[in-house]
Structure formats: C-alpha cells, structure tokens
Amino acid sequence: MENAIEVANLTKQYGDVTAVDGMSFTVTAGEFFGLLGPNGAGKTTTIRMLTGLTRPTSGSAKITGRDCVKEPVAVKQRIGVVSEVSNLYNEMSAWDNLMFIGELYGVGKQTRTDRVKQLLEAFQLYERRHDRLAGYSKGMKRRVRIAAALIHHPDVLFLDEPTSGLDVQSSRMIRSLVRQLNKDGMTIFLTTHYIDEADQFCERVAIMKQGRIVAEGPPEKLKATLQGEHVVEVAFVGDCSGLEELLRADQTVNEVTKQADKYHIHTTNPGGVIREIVQFATANRLEIMSVNTGRPSLEDVFMKYTGLNAVQVERMEQLRAVKAGRQHG
C-alpha cells in the first residue's frame, strides 16, 4: 500500500539539545496514526518538521512522496494542519476566514464558495457564518480551524491536540467528523495527550520519549506486550491505610496507584490479590464498594514505556487542559 508519510532518521537539534533523535516511521495512505508522548518528548517538533514549520537538522521526511525540505510548497498543497491554538483572524467572520484560506491555497472562487458553505454546514456553523470569530466559543473556533485545514481537501490531515481544553459536546463533534474524514480515505496524523482518544481512533500509535520512538504498533498489539499482566481496581468505604504497603509486599504486584477513590493494582496473579484484599477488608472491618479486573489499557502501555505513572499522566492531562484554556480563552 502507498505510504502517505515516510520519515527516515529525522533529527532536530537545538544547540546541545536533541529534540528529535533519528526518528523513523511510515504511515500508509488512509491510516489513522497517533503520536503519543509526555511533554517535551518531541511530538510538536516532529509535527512542525513534517508540516514545513521547522527545518530538520538531518534525515528525511516525505509526504505523499514529496520531500518536506526540497519541495515544501508541493507538500503544503497536500496537507492540512490544525495546530493546538485556533490561529485564525478574530477580526474576520468564519466565512471570510475560510474564503481567505481557500484563496491562499488556490481554490477557484466558485469551488471555494461551495466548499466553504459545505464545511460550515458540516461543522454546524453556517447560521453564524457572518459573525466575527472574536465572539465564538473555544469549541466553535476549533471547528472553524479544522474546517480551514480541509478547505483544499488535503490528502493528509495533521491534528495537534484537536480536542484539548474543549467541552464534551465540541470534542464529540470533532471526533466524529475526523473519524468520518478517515472513513472517506483521508490519512490522519494525530498527536494527543488523551490516551483514550488515541486508543479509540488510531489504527496505529507510536509512543515517544526523549526524542525517540520507544514503542510502535496497533493499540491492541501494544497492550499485548504487557503479557500476563492484569489490572485489579478496588474501592472501599472507610479508611484503608495499610493496604498499599501490604500489596507492595506481594511479589506478584508490579504497581499500585490510587486514582480518586480507587486503587489500581497491576499484578500477574489477580485471584491471589483479590483474596488478599478481601482478607484485609475483613480484618479491618471495611466495606468493599467495588472490585473489577481487566487487561492493561493503552495508558498502562504508555506508562510502561514513558516511565510515567497514572497520577502523572492524569496531572499532565489536567495541566494540558488548563494551558489550552489559557491560550484559547
């Protein structure tokens, strides 16, 4: 199958710091590909090099067979880019913004008018097409931004944190539209901090750490790499101090974390761990509210490869949402 993106030994150095270190991967045409990684892993630098915003120090990147450095204009004609910030002109209406972008991409006037109407209708913004963007909500601005990236019908769509800091309704609409675009044959390259989002949509993901890809493959295949590991999730009524120490002493337990009112226990022996928990609850007269067992999630894979625990991942997502809120507010 034809490759939409081909990256070979891509490297970016800022002085002594290597932001991206000899990265190589391919994305086939029509694929939904996700790039995951903690802050500073090199995701944004990678996307900037692929979209012509940053020159690589070495290595090569090709989009639909065109070299990103040697043929930047040809590459840009074939890609759509949605950055994390909704960078459009607040002084202009949604209609005028999209018409401007269309003209910049060389879309003829009649085609442009039809396409802008079609996109604004699809994104449920047609009724407010003549309102200035300054009066739009964050979610509406993001929808216009995605519409702007689609005006020339690109082969590859780059989405950098598309739902970061958005309300549930806007996030759902954007996810549904992006999924539809992919079904229609568009290649999607997504970077996100929402690991569930990547798990739900991406056919293949790559996890980055310190400028390198440390794991790559379909989410289910990556989850299978945590062979034999199970997750036990338990919640109590009352004080359960001492449980964490008890479980950590168990040789079959790999990790114990507390998220909200639940303990997440990674173990190779879920039955034994549940027995221990029940004994602990009985001895301490605690009521068990719920017990669940399951296979590791993509978040567990992410944690394994990046060295971040669940609390850090959660905090990272919260910080991201706050940061995005500040930028778009």
């Binding site: 012509g52 890609i79 401007f100 060389g106």
Partner: protein, 254 residues
C-alpha cells in the same frame, strides 16, 4: 490520492502576485483600523512635523516633499510594525507558513498592504498641501510614481525591522528610534546641502533622502536626478525585502 478538485498551481511570479494580493487584502481589513496604526502612522508624524515647521518660513519646494516623504515613511512602515508582531504572537503567522506559499510571497503581500496605506496617506497629504498652498506640480505623474516607489521601500523597511523583533512595543520603539533621526538628516526640515559633511554622508544611506529629493524634482522639473533617486529607492526596496525574508525564515523556522 488526487485532490477532489483542482487547485491553481502555486509557482512562480504569478503566484507571488495573486497570493500576495490575497494577503494584502486580508491585512488591510484586519490591521488598517487598529488604533496603533492611527497613533504611530498618522499622529506621530503630524505632531513631529508641526513641532518643527510651525513659525518657520519653509519654502513650498521643501515643505511639500518633506511632509509627503515623512507621511509616507511613517504610514507605510507602521502597518508591518503592527501586523508582523501580532501575527507571530497569535500564531496566525503559522497559518500563513503552512499554506503553499513562500516566505517571499508573505513578505510581498504584507509589504503591499503597508505600501497601499502609505500611498493613500501620502497622496491625500499631497493633495491637501497643494490645494492649500496653491503650489504648481511640475510633473504630477512622476510625483505619484515617486510616492509609490517610496512607499514600497518604506514598507520593506518596516517589515525588516518588525521581522527581527519579538513583540509590537519593541517593533514600534525600534522603528521610531530609526525613523526620527532619519527625518532630520533626509532633507525633510533642512536642505541636505546645509548639513555638516558627516551628516550629509549618512543622509545618502537612508531611503527617505531619495524620496524627498525625487519629490522635489517632480515638483519643479524632473531631470536625471529623479531617475537616480528612483533607482536608489528600488535598490533599497529589494535589499530590505530580501533582508525581511532572511530574518523571518531565521526567526520563525526554528
């Protein structure tokens, strides 16, 4: 993976021109009405001119070229001093960077918006000044040509400075720091021949000198000096636009 509809190719001079005009139209809509343009592009030159010319007997052949030259300098360079830092700050510059156009097209388009603003202001000023003073313009056509070329050179000047700095206050301060000394040594208030030799030498290193001289020539009787002034302004225009492209690429393609 063909596009669902054909796109006009983004190559060569035609693309530079058409996409440049697209950017210029957008800049005119977004930035012409910003209050900073009014302050730095219109009020400051008006105050400076009035402060130094009121109460002085200034001959018409010095007054009109000086006034028009100064209005052109401030007007044409102010749009970029606002638009480039705002676009970098709001990241709309990245929107332009990800479009299938070169940095030269962005510089040309933005320069066009600044030039158009400078040309409109200068011609309005010239019309009012000529009407009020009753002065005769030797060659109105060449006067307009000089105003157009001068405005392009000054917008490129504004672009080169604004590209190199981080934010709008720094861009405006840097430009003002360069524009103010320029108007005192370029024949706006005092004929260049009356300046001390070192200042006279420096005056030939500023584009404003050539515009004021070209306008004086057009006002009386344009000769070879007019065309030499025009060539000097075109050289300034090309050099400053090229500098703006290099600086923008260096500062934004990190």
């Amino acid at each position: 993976m063909a596009n669902r509809f054909s796109l006009k190719p983004a190559k060569g001079f035609c693309s530079l021109l058409t996409r440049g005009v697209t950017i210029a139209k957008k800049d005119a809509r977004v930035y012409y009405l910003k209050p900073q343009i009014f302050g730095f592009g219109i009020l400051i030159p008006a105050f400076v001119y009035l402060s130094f010319s009121l109460g002085r007997e200034v001959p018409l052949d010095l007054l009109i070229p000086g006034l028009v030259g100064m209005v052109s300098l401030f007007g044409a360079s102010s749009v970029e001093a606002i638009s480039i830092p705002i676009e970098k700050q709001t990241e709309t510059y990245e929107l332009l960077q990800t479009a299938p156009i070169s940095t030269a097209t962005i510089v040309f388009g933005k320069g066009l918006a600044g030039s158009a603003f400078g040309i409109i202001l200068s011609l309005l000023t010239a019309t009012v000044a000529v009407a009020l003073s009753g002065a005769q313009v030797g060659s109105p056509f060449l006067f307009v040509i000089a105003v157009i070329v001068g405005a392009f050179a000054f917008s490129a000047f504004g672009m080169a400075v604004a590209s190199a700095v981080k934010d709008m206050p720094t861009a405006n301060m840097s430009l003002t720091a360069l524009r103010l000394p320029m108007i005192f040594i370029s024949g706006v208030f005092t004929p260049i021949q009356a300046l001390p030799l070192p200042l006279r030498v420096i005056s030939y290193l500023t584009p404003l000198t050539y515009l004021v001289d070209a306008l004086q020539e057009a006002l009386i009787s344009p000769g070879i000096a007019f065309w030499l002034d025009l060539i000097a302004m075109v050289i300034w225009l090309i050099a400053l636009q090229a500098l703006a492209v290099v600086v923008l690429n260096k500062k934004t393609q990190l």
